[in-house]
């Protein structure tokens, strides 16, 4: 039996290098078979060296300028054509916005199912078994029965980035779209504010949620975080509500963090959020609702009002430290 070909969809950062989450997926792909990367981006050629170093044996490169001018449809058309021609066993997608759009569209186009938010993939014969957590305590095991290619989206930080050294063979991925695919035009991208908190590297994170009541009260989170020398974070709910920028968001569609200490203030603990912070070494939760799911993952749960406790804690720490 020929060795399994496992593909990784590569997102390209603003600096023209492959995004870290795609490099994480190469680690998994190498464990499962021959790792191959697909990059459809105007600067695709510049990613080949790094992808080879991280274990891609082959990089399928498409650098048509229109991949930078239009979103989703041109990439989907070319990827669908590649999958039909090459028939890899499995395609791994990073848990990122653009990748998710492309994966979802392929589900409809190829009549395939897809798994999101997976933390592990293994083969049993030709069947693929995917591990996907539903919340903090329940783990699902999903068996994919159909013929591939299987489309599986992997959660951030499920696998480490490993530079193993190596040189990838470059194969051209011919553009397989016509002008009908040029229909969602990218007018521009404002860079995310780089002054945002460096959540991924923070040792201590203090996060706020809806329980703060209003955007004005978020300053209480910033003050406690500053007092502890940590970074302020947020739930998707308050990011979506516009209280703080997206760069603050911890969770499935934000940043996945594993600090030494995580203090969740006024956060109920939606799965979306638990996925992003459940791996923290120590968790303190402060919430008025005694039954909030956040208490299931907390080492120290405080049932009470964040608007009273958080400023009192900050003041007390000021004396202490």
């Amino acid at each position: 039996m020929a060795e399994r070909r496992v593909w990784v969809w590569v997102e390209v950062d603003a600096d023209g290098q492959p995004h870290k989450l795609s490099l994480e997926l190469l680690t998994l792909a190498r464990q499962l078979g021959t790792a191959e990367a697909v990059v459809l981006h105007p600067q695709a050629a510049g990613t080949v060296e790094a992808l080879g170093q991280h274990g891609a044996a082959v990089v399928h490169v498409g650098d048509d300028a229109r991949y930078g001018e239009y979103v989703v449809d041109p990439q989907v058309a070319t990827l669908a054509a590649l999958l039909a021609a090459e028939q890899p066993s499995l395609v791994l997608f990073p848990s990122m916005f653009a990748a998710r759009d492309i994966q979802a569209r392929l589900v409809g186009r190829l009549g395939l199912s897809a798994v999101s938010n997976a933390t592990g993939v293994r083969y049993e014969g030709e069947q693929i078994i995917v591990t996907t957590p539903y919340g903090a305590e329940t783990i699902g095991t999903v068996t994919l029965d159909n013929a591939g290619p299987h489309l599986v989206q992997i959660r951030p930080k499920a696998f480490p980035v490993e530079a193993v050294g190596g040189t990838a063979e470059v194969r051209e991925a011919p553009a397989a779209f016509d002008e009908t695919a040029l229909r969602v035009r990218l007018l521009g991208t404002e860079e995310a504010v780089s002054e945002g908190p460096n959540l991924e590297d923070a040792d201590i994170i203090v996060s706020g949620g809806r329980g703060l009541g209003s955007a004005d009260n978020y300053v209480l989170i910033e003050e406690l975080a500053a007092q502890l020398g940590g970074a302020p974070g947020a739930t998707r709910a308050i990011v979506d509500a516009g209280w703080v920028p997206y760069s603050y968001q911890v969770g499935q569609t934000g940043k996945v963090v594993k600090p030494n200490l995580y203090i969740a203030c006024g956060i109920s603990g939606a799965i979306q959020h638990l996925v992003g912070m459940g791996g923290s070494a120590h968790i303190i939760a402060i919430n008025t609702d005694e039954d909030a799911p956040i208490f299931d993952v907390a080492d120290l749960g405080v049932v009470g009002d964040v608007l009273t406790i958080v400023p009192a804690l900050t003041a007390r720490l000021r004396e202490e430290m």
Partner: protein
């Protein structure tokens, strides 16, 4: 989230079937666009009989029509099966704009809007924080991993929205009364012209073969605060883990 241990299916909204808060934002945007440009709002859902409550809520907010995909054979649908059923119901409407939430609050696979757009052969504009329509041009701002993107397409199109898109209105008494008078159209698989093998558990290509519950190793302590008296216990904990 609750998973039925027997069927291994997600038990959706076990207490009550409500309009997912994520969907209220989409209904609100639809109502605002119709107020600006004219037209009608039709709300569509797929789910058990109790999903009728969610449609009633949307009607009370001001939607004009409601369609309920209701068939036992739809139970257990995966993202593709769900998208197929929704596409069959939505295609005949000839809608200019189809609005979805980005993901359900319970299953959150996030695959349905994109798959639905593909089956309807429409452009997809996802994760919208702001959306505006001028003539037949739809312009969307959305937060992605690299920053805030502005994207644009020509209608008809499919849009998925986040909570910052619009603040949902509360139904008025008049709205509640009117909602009671609207007949919800119920559609079965046969009405949709769909083969049962394409949807539901029969059409699903993925099987949840096992559900395990992890024992949470840490035995958390829960205390009740009275007027800020928990602060000393938090301080003691921070000292114990050597943060301070």
């Amino acid at each position: 989230m609750v998973v039925d241990p027997g069927t291994k299916r997600l038990v959706r909204n076990p207490a009550e079937s409500v309009l997912d808060t994520a969907d209220e934002y989409g209904v609100e945007l639809a109502l605002q666009l119709v107020e600006q440009h004219g037209g009608e709002v039709t709300v569509v859902t797929m789910g058990p009989a109790a999903a009728d409550d969610a449609l009633r809520r949307a009607l009370a907010m001001g939607a004009n029509h409601a369609i309920h995909l209701l068939d036992d054979a739809l139970a257990g649908s995966d993202a593709l099966g769900t998208a197929r059923a929704l596409a069959a119901a939505i295609a005949p409407l000839g809608a200019d704009l189809i609005i979805c939430a980005t993901e359900s609050t319970d299953a959150y696979s996030g695959m349905v809007p994109g798959a639905l757009a593909e089956l309807l052969e429409l452009p997809q504009l996802t994760f919208a924080r702001e959306a505006s329509v001028e003539g037949t041009t739809l312009t969307v701002k959305r937060a992605v991993d690299t920053g805030i993107q502005t994207i644009q397409a020509t209608l008809p199109a499919l849009l998925s929205v986040t909570a910052s898109i619009a603040e949902p209105r509360y139904p008025t008494f008049r709205g509640l009364m009117q909602a009671k008078r609207v007949a919800v159209q119920t559609k079965s698989l046969a009405d949709l012209g769909l083969d049962p093998s394409q949807v539901g558990a029969a059409g699903a290509q993925e099987r949840v073969t096992e559900i395990t519950t992890q024992t949470v190793e840490k035995q958390g302590v829960k205390i009740h605060d009275e007027g800020g008296d928990s602060v000393e216990q938090i301080i003691a904990y921070l000292k114990r883990i050597e943060v301070i």
